[in-house]
């Protein structure tokens, strides 16, 4: 039983002619899989490796480097919210904000809360320092005004 749908596999294959090597499709493939499955299951790693003519270890080597992709025992919640703690955000309360949000959700960074509706992550610089403290919701940066605001956003209320 295949972990990856034929349509994902097809989309992965469609990336092949963009690069001189199939290995270069590793990151695009991992993104596609995680976007759809909220994690990259072991079986998916095997199937990506098969498609890209790599060993599963090579795929996981790359995958684990980024700290961005999730194993199947730790899938992402429905919304992933990253709170920045690098210097510009730290100076404006990023660390405390992250701590407060985690406290109120009773999780550590990386954990899921609210019945897996939300995942809170700590981030190093998100590149939105003028909004500090800032957060990343999925792949878009926003100012994070305070913990109430973050929690509202996290639950999809704003």
């Amino acid at each position: 039983m295949s972990v990856l749908s034929e349509s994902i596999k097809q989309r992965i294959r469609e990336h092949f002619d963009r690069y001189p090597s199939k290995q270069a499709v590793t990151l695009p493939a991992l993104h596609m899989v995680q976007e759809e499955l909220r994690c990259v299951p072991a079986g998916a790693i095997e199937e990506i490796a098969e498609l890209l003519e790599l060993s599963p270890a090579q795929v996981y080597d790359t995958m684990s480097f980024y700290g961005f992709f999730r194993d199947e025992d730790k899938p992402l919640g429905k919304r992933r919210v990253w709170i920045c703690r690098s210097l510009p955000c730290m100076l404006r309360g990023g660390d405390e904000l992250l701590a407060e949000v985690c406290d109120r959700l009773h999780i550590s960074p990386g954990g899921n809360a609210k019945n897996d509706q939300v995942t809170i992550e700590l981030a190093e610089c998100l590149g939105a320092c003028e909004m500090a403290p800032c957060m990343l919701i999925e792949d878009e940066v926003h100012p994070a005004i305070d913990a109430d605001h973050v929690l509202q956003v996290a639950e999809g209320k704003s």
């Binding site: 790599l54 060993s55 080597d61 684990s64 480097f65």
Partner: protein, 580 residues
């Protein structure tokens, strides 16, 4: 070649070598962890940093302000290298302190202790204490990393040699780095342990005690081991090896670097495939007289034999005092005396009715001694080739992503299908004495059809199944002499069993698939009263003196034109190409 200056010593080096190699030429040790001459250069451990500069034509020296990795820097003519400056010393000290930050101080229970580059370099170049005030990072051991390999994760220095090995040499790519920065580790994917046929090499190339061989683990502290150069007999690649032993017990086999033979590595079949030499099935004493029942279909050589009745056989006395008497010697008597007269009388009656089966596990010297001896008795005696075991096809590395073999110009290691060490050498001897190489299956047919009354059969094979048809072919003989390591259905059938020695127990020379001659050195003594084949044959043939490989090789060189190279050069530790 060009001149480089290592700590003010001028030496000529190949400009393709790096500064570690150049320094070694100059007798200067540059410490390193990640670099390995057979793997890609990553320059990541930063242990080999040195100061470099360039000697200008006017004799002045311009040094670079920064440190450079010696592994990554070619020994360009005119390069000035300084390895003993304060800057270099400070950098080494600090790098070692970093490497040891999270490294456990468990040398006392670490298998690598005694051959550990962290120990050695810390002693030579390190600080006397660590300034770490924080708890060390603890990481779980990974005993599952391979069938033969355990990973002591917290000892790892992340040199990534093992990962590069599985990607570049074996091509099997099971090992990988996971995570990033100070929390990264070596790992395997679930369900994909590092079990490839070259896997054991990652233990050798691991510069610290992280990757350990389960087979050797906690068996012996390495400083008790004594080493002997030898040659692996597992296939016709003939890997140069080192046999590590203590008190006549073998503990492990390691590859010995030899660019002429296999390179730096060896396969696990060879590395672990010697256990039968210290196992139950060894013949440990000569024997005269047949056993009552022949276990014609016995698989392997073990166990079954022990249930046989020994009523008709005369097992030799076991005590040291009786030792000479049992084998007998050159002067006559004992089993060797009986064998000598039995063969002589058969040869005298009709040499055509006697056959010798010369094993491809014999050394050149042994094959020569046997053939020369028998030919001396009768020119009609048939000298035939023993079975040349072929298993599958040559196994080429690095494998591709789907396990496919590399193209011919990309092969980095070959496990050969021909599972014996010396077919070429034995063939050269047979061609000289018999004029041709009679294959085993042909002689087997002759045996089965009753063409012979007597046979001298030499084995030396690892445990393997001897088909009943083969055993039956020998059953009708009036005289069967078996010279072998292990008890087999054939040895059970024999009138005389001459308990012989393994490659680790004797000296001698074998010729690999491409004509490279290499020599075994004696690492351990044969078990019990078993004897080195060379000694058996010297005494049987009535030659004077002790068996001495170089002397026999000189004789071979004059007798066998194809092997005349033996007369010109010594075989040496790196071998000698005798049949280009």
């Amino acid at each position: 070649m060009g001149s480089v200056f290592i700590d003010d010593k001028e030496i000529d080096v190949d400009p393709k070598s790096n500064l570690i190699q150049a320094a070694r030429e100059a007798g200067v040790e540059v410490p390193y962890y990640c670099w390995h001459h057979d793997l890609s250069v990553v320059a990541s451990c930063r242990m080999c940093l040195v100061e470099v500069g360039e000697k200008k034509p006017d004799g002045s020296v311009a040094m670079l302000p920064r440190l450079v990795p010696a592994c990554q820097t070619p020994a360009k003519p005119g390069t000035v290298v300084r390895t003993n400056t304060d800057k270099v010393k400070a950098s080494r000290e600090q790098t070692l302190e970093y490497l040891l930050l999270n490294h456990p101080l468990d040398c006392s229970i670490c298998d690598q202790a005694g051959e550990c580059y962290l120990q050695d370099y810390t002693y030579k170049f390190g600080r006397s204490h660590s300034r770490l005030n924080e708890p060390k990072v603890q990481r779980l051991d990974k005993y599952h990393i391979g069938e033969q390999i355990a990973l002591f994760t917290d000892r790892c220095v992340m040199c990534t040699r093992c990962v590069r090995f599985t990607r570049e040499i074996s091509g099997t790519a099971e090992l990988h780095v996971i995570n990033r920065g100070s929390v990264e580790e070596i790992d395997v994917r679930p369900g994909h342990p590092c079990n490839n046929k070259l896997a054991g090499n990652v233990v050798d190339i691991c510069p610290v005690g992280a990757l350990c061989s389960k087979d050797f683990l906690y068996k012996k502290r390495v400083w008790w081991l004594k080493h002997a150069d030898s040659v692996c007999t597992g296939c016709s690649t003939g890997c140069s090896i080192v046999v590590d032993q203590n008190e006549d017990k073998m503990y492990r086999i390691r590859p010995r670097e030899n660019p002429q033979a296999q390179g730096s590595f060896m396969c696990d079949e060879g590395r672990f495939g010697w256990k039968h030499l210290q196992g139950e099935g060894r013949l440990t004493a000569p024997r005269a007289g047949r056993l009552a029942v022949a276990a014609a279909t016995a698989v392997g050589s073990h166990a079954e034999g022990s249930s046989l009745s020994r009523s008709e056989s005369r097992v030799l006395p076991q005590s040291d005092a009786d030792f000479q008497d049992a084998w007998g010697g050159t002067s006559g008597g004992g089993i060797l005396g009986e064998v000598r007269s039995a063969i002589a009388s058969m040869a005298k009656q009709d040499g055509r009715r006697f056959v010798a089966i010369v094993s491809p596990f014999m050394t050149c010297e042994e094959a020569y001694l046997l053939c020369d001896y028998l030919r001396g008795l009768s020119k009609h005696i048939t000298l035939a080739m023993g079975e040349v075991p072929i298993v599958g096809e040559d196994d080429l590395y690095p494998k591709g992503p789907r396990g496919e073999s590399p193209t011919a110009d990309n092969v980095k290691f070959t496990i050969r299908a021909e599972k014996c060490p010396n077919r070429l050498g034995v063939e050269a001897v047979l061609k000289r004495f018999q004029g041709e190489v009679i294959p085993f299956d042909v002689v087997l047919k002759s045996l089965a059809s009753g063409a012979f009354d007597g046979a001298y059969y030499v084995g030396g094979y690892p445990p393997h199944e001897i088909p009943s048809g083969v055993v039956r072919a020998f059953e009708g003989l009036k005289l069967l002499i078996v010279q072998d390591l292990l008890q087999t259905p054939l040895s059970d059938l024999a009138d005389y069993v001459l308990a012989s020695a393994s490659f680790a127990e004797r000296q001698g020379t074998v010729i690999n698939h491409k004509g490279l001659a290499q020599s075994y050195r004696v690492a351990v003594r044969p078990p019990g009263e078993a004897r080195a084949d060379g000694r058996i044959l010297m005494e049987l043939s009535g030659r004077k003196g002790l068996f001495h490989s170089p002397t026999i090789l000189k004789e071979i060189a004059t007798e066998i034109p194809a092997l005349s190279k033996f007369g010109k050069e010594e075989v040496g530790t790196q071998g000698l190409m005798v049949m280009a």
